[in-house]
């Protein structure tokens, strides 16, 4: 529990006056994401800025400093029977809430429960002028001013230092079980989407190694009644399976050095025709690919599938790793970056070479 916001502010002001750049680091567990950090930049460590600032279980809202480890947050929530419904991945014990929002990472429940971005209600942000700003708030509905809080999701820290986050939390499910059955990759997209279109308590759907896994969560009676109607075997260790998907510890994700590609596409789109291995999550919306290829070759395939592709982990990280942006959006994003960080202090080139 420590509030180091003053120290962080001083460091930003110093960097600004000295014309320096800063790489923002929380727990340091997601260093593999984005483009290579700029070697000339200093480090701004937010990992020491920790602690739950405010938590009222009845409000379903928690306010927490950005460097707080996810595990601390989840432990506090679990005591009250609550959880972060977006199921953020832990890449080790040090993964923080700030890094999770900056990278916009959510787990298997994402299509149903929403993303970390969806659950954010407000933030405190240190911008490139060293100003401590507060956007959004601690209430579910707030439309005063632009939604600068959610703008941070996926920006990889290029707009400023997130120092505090208020987010919506939810009750944990009363019951949960997983159904598993054999299915080919050709059949599974239609199957998962059809199941998702039924008004049943489905909260996760993925496919890997010729098997489809569906998770049901909610009121015990509803979960059991649905499981009795749907095909598939009840899995003994369902919880452990989903944990391995959430934290990317499933064996599909082993071998960190070989390139791991992420396709974020239309859930029903035919799978891109490429040689390699696939892990299909989010009922078809998120597809992980392991195989050879270049970003430039994959982009048209992702676009044809209604979405985007990025090099999530491994491979060459000196070039672009994110789906390219059309010129008009590039110009807007450059200007937005400039509006928050006019001297380009934060995470230069981490998201795109031009940002």
């Amino acid at each position: 529990m420590a509030d180091i916001s003053q120290q962080l502010q001083e460091q930003v002001l110093q960097a600004r006056s000295g014309g320096e750049k800063l790489n923002i680091v929380g727990g340091g567990t997601k260093a593999f994401m984005g483009r290579e950090p700029s070697p000339d930049a200093g480090t701004l460590n937010v990992g020491g800025h920790t602690g739950i600032v405010d938590y009222h279980p009845v409000e379903l809202v928690m306010t927490v400093r950005a460097g707080t480890p996810l595990s601390d947050i989840e432990a506090a929530l679990a005591e009250q029977g609550q959880a972060m419904h977006c199921e953020p991945p832990h890449f080790g014990p040090d993964s923080t809430i700030g890094g999770t929002l900056a990278c916009n990472l959510s787990g298997p429940a994402r299509p149903w429960a929403g993303s970390v971005r969806d659950q954010v209600l407000g933030i405190r942000l240190l911008n490139g002028k060293g100003e401590q700003l507060r956007f959004g708030g601690e209430v579910m509905k707030n439309v005063a001013g632009y939604d600068v809080s959610r703008l941070q999701a996926g920006a990889l820290g290029t707009l400023g230092v997130i120092t505090e986050i208020s987010m919506k939390v939810m009750p944990g499910p009363a019951a949960s079980l997983t159904l598993v059955q054999d299915m080919t990759i050709d059949e599974v997209l239609h199957y998962m989407n059809s199941r998702a279109a039924e008004p049943k308590p489905i909260t996760a759907a993925c496919w890997v190694d010729g098997k489809v896994y569906l998770r049901l969560s909610g009121a015990k009676s509803a979960v059991e009644a649905t499981a009795a109607k749907w095909s598939g075997e009840v899995m003994g260790n369902g919880q452990a399976f989903w944990r391995s998907v959430q934290d990317m510890q499933h064996e599909f994700f082993a071998n960190d050095d070989s390139p791991l590609w992420r396709f974020s596409v239309n859930s029903t789109a035919a799978n891109p025709a490429m040689e390699g291995k696939w892990f299909i999550d989010w009922a078809g919306s998120q597809r992980w690919f392991r195989g050879a290829g270049e970003l430039g070759d994959m982009e048209p395939l992702a676009r044809a599938a209604g979405g985007q592709v990025s090099l999530f982990r491994g491979g060459d990280r000196s070039g672009e790793v994110m789906h390219s942006q059309p010129n008009a959006l590039k110009a807007i994003q450059r200007r937005v970056k400039n509006s928050f960080d006019p001297d380009g202090i934060f995470n230069p080139g981490r998201l795109y070479s031009w940002l």
Binding site: V58, L60, V61, G81, N104, R110, P111, G114, S115, R117, D118, L133, G137, E138, V139, M140, K141, V143, A144, G145, Y146, D147, V148, R150, A153, G154, M170, P171, H190, N193, A196, A197, P199, K200, P201, G218, A219, A222, E224, A225, T226, S264, A269, S285, G307, Q308, S310, M322, H323, Q325, P326, A328, L329, I332, R335, V336, K337, N338, S339, Y352
Partner: protein, 490 residues
């Protein structure tokens, strides 16, 4: 900031008429009159002219011309907004998207729909019903309001706590920029690359771009929905019951509260069979599978009884459910019947302060000499105090506005905000200075400039000029000091 446009009204109209059907470039006062305000009719202004394009290319050309000549552009959907966000600029163009009213495509398997911005909110769910799907956000104006306006305001409704706001239910928007470029923000995938511009655009009140197409997510229609109505003899007990339900682990599809005034007015209007003697009423809707609803309804009834409900009634049919909701949904017109005029406020507070806030509001009501009725999205803390007044009594609207401003200030003081779903527009622009510092407001202006360097999109709305804020804050300070001094002397 815009300066005086460098083109005359006649020249501008002539330019538009070269590519927009001449009948839909409106320049005469009589035909423009309906455009002078939105749902917040206390704020009116006549525009320079009104144009109703029907293609994206036409919107682009309009924007290019307006950009070139520095002409303000106010986008308009159905004009149901409640913060004067669509009030015209007297030197600008009202760009109506009324002709963009087609549902372009529904994909039942992917559970998505492509919509033109002028499609009415309710029409989406009506069309999707054939696939067993519906659209989550359901603002009270859903019969008339459009999806483009919903994106501009980040509209909610009674089901937000469980199903989210507009920002949680859209995948992408196609937008024409201030400079006339067409861009698509977002994709069919759930989480894309780069900063989340889609979130930034949602709720930006027409200050960042003109939305010309929206792709939304649809939800499977729940098997069953039932509503429990519980009456309480105090607001405090009803507030505690809201917490009780949530602590129990139930997330209701809708959780609404009404105070004594609103209960009687709504019951007179709709004949819903509300407990008229109650001081507070909760409507708690649970939806899901049959098993789940059965389980949760029994629990909700038990929680309400345990926490002191004086009456508990659960809908036993769709008809009864509709009737119980009818009272709530007609609360605004119902209150409208007991007063010549009413002013609907829209603050949000942390729910634990509900009893305090309502008690304070009662004190203010006496102080300002104006009645107030309360309907409240209790699940997500969104208050809608309805201040009753008579616009024909000189000074009464000014007093109403002052009362409203005091309510919003109190919302901020207890950790809430000045607007939950109606937006800032013109109406709440002064109160922005209460919720945000100058540095924060300046950051908003800088964000706006990143999208609209010339400042032609809906100028003067949403974010106040800083000079204005300092004046407002010092006025507040003086008032506060004055009250303080009076109290000390009293």
């Amino acid at each position: 900031m815009t300066t005086k446009p460098k083109i005359s009204k006649a020249e501008l109209a002539d330019q538009f008429r070269t590519f927009v059907d001449a009948d839909f470039v409106i320049t005469d006062d009589e035909t423009m009159k309906p455009y002078e305000c939105d749902g917040m009719s206390m704020y009116c202004e006549m525009p320079l002219l009104v144009v109703l394009p029907e293609t994206v290319t036409q919107v682009q050309r309009i924007m290019r011309i307006c950009h070139e000549y520095g002409v303000p552009v106010v986008a308009r959907g159905a004009g149901t907004g409640l913060s004067a966000g669509a009030m015209p600029n007297k030197e600008g163009v009202v760009l109506s998207l009324a002709k963009f009213n087609r549902i372009l495509h529904i994909d039942p398997l992917a559970r998505t729909a492509n919509l033109q911005p002028g499609v009415r909110n309710l029409a989406i769910s009506e069309e999707a019903a054939q696939y067993g799907l519906y659209y989550g956000p359901d603002p009270s104006s859903q019969i008339a309001c459009t999806i483009g306006g919903n994106v501009a305001e980040n509209s909610g409704g009674v089901h937000c706590l469980k199903y989210g706001l507009t920002v949680h239910n859209i995948l992408s928007v196609e937008m024409v920029t201030a400079e006339g470029d067409v861009v698509t923000v977002g994709s069919d995938g759930l989480d894309g690359c780069g900063m989340d511009l889609l979130a930034l655009l949602t709720g930006s009140e027409g200050l960042l771009g003109i939305v010309t197409e929206v792709k939304i997510r649809l939800l499977p229609k729940p098997e069953v929905a039932q509503v429990v109505m519980a009456g309480f003899d105090s607001v405090q007990k009803a507030g505690d019951a809201v917490g009780g339900i949530i602590s129990h682990g139930i997330i209701p599809a809708g959780l609404e509260m009404m105070d004594g005034y609103a209960i009687v007015a709504a019951d007179d209007f709709a004949g819903a069979g509300y407990p008229r003697e109650a001081k507070a009423l909760l409507l708690c809707e649970v939806d899901g599978t049959e098993e789940e609803v059965h389980e949760h309804i029994a629990e909700a009834e038990a929680v309400f009884r345990k926490l002191g409900a004086t009456s508990v009634r659960t809908s036993q049919s769709e008809q009864e459910r509709a009737l119980l909701w009818l009272g709530r949904k007609s609360a605004f017109p119902a209150v409208g019947r007991i007063s010549p005029d009413y002013y609907c406020m829209d603050g949000t507070i942390p729910r634990r302060h509900i009893a305090f806030v309502l008690a304070e509001m009662e004190k203010m009501s006496e102080e300002f000499g104006l009645r107030v009725a309360n309907v409240f999205h209790a699940g997500d803390g969104n208050l809608h105090p309805l201040i009753l007044f008579d616009a024909n009594v000189p000074g009464e609207f000014e007093r109403t506005e002052a009362f409203g401003a005091s309510i919003l200030k109190m919302c901020v003081d207890v950790g809430g905000c000045i607007t939950g779903e109606h937006g800032v527009g013109v109406e709440k622009i002064r109160q922005m200075a209460i919720q945000f510092s100058d540095q924060e407001l300046e950051q908003f202006h800088d964000v706006k400039a990143a999208f609209d360097p010339a400042g032609i999109l809906n100028p003067g709305k949403g974010v106040p000029a800083l000079k204005f804020c300092q004046e407002y804050r010092s006025l507040e300070y003086k008032q506060h000091k004055h009250e303080h001094t009076e109290a000390a002397h009293g």
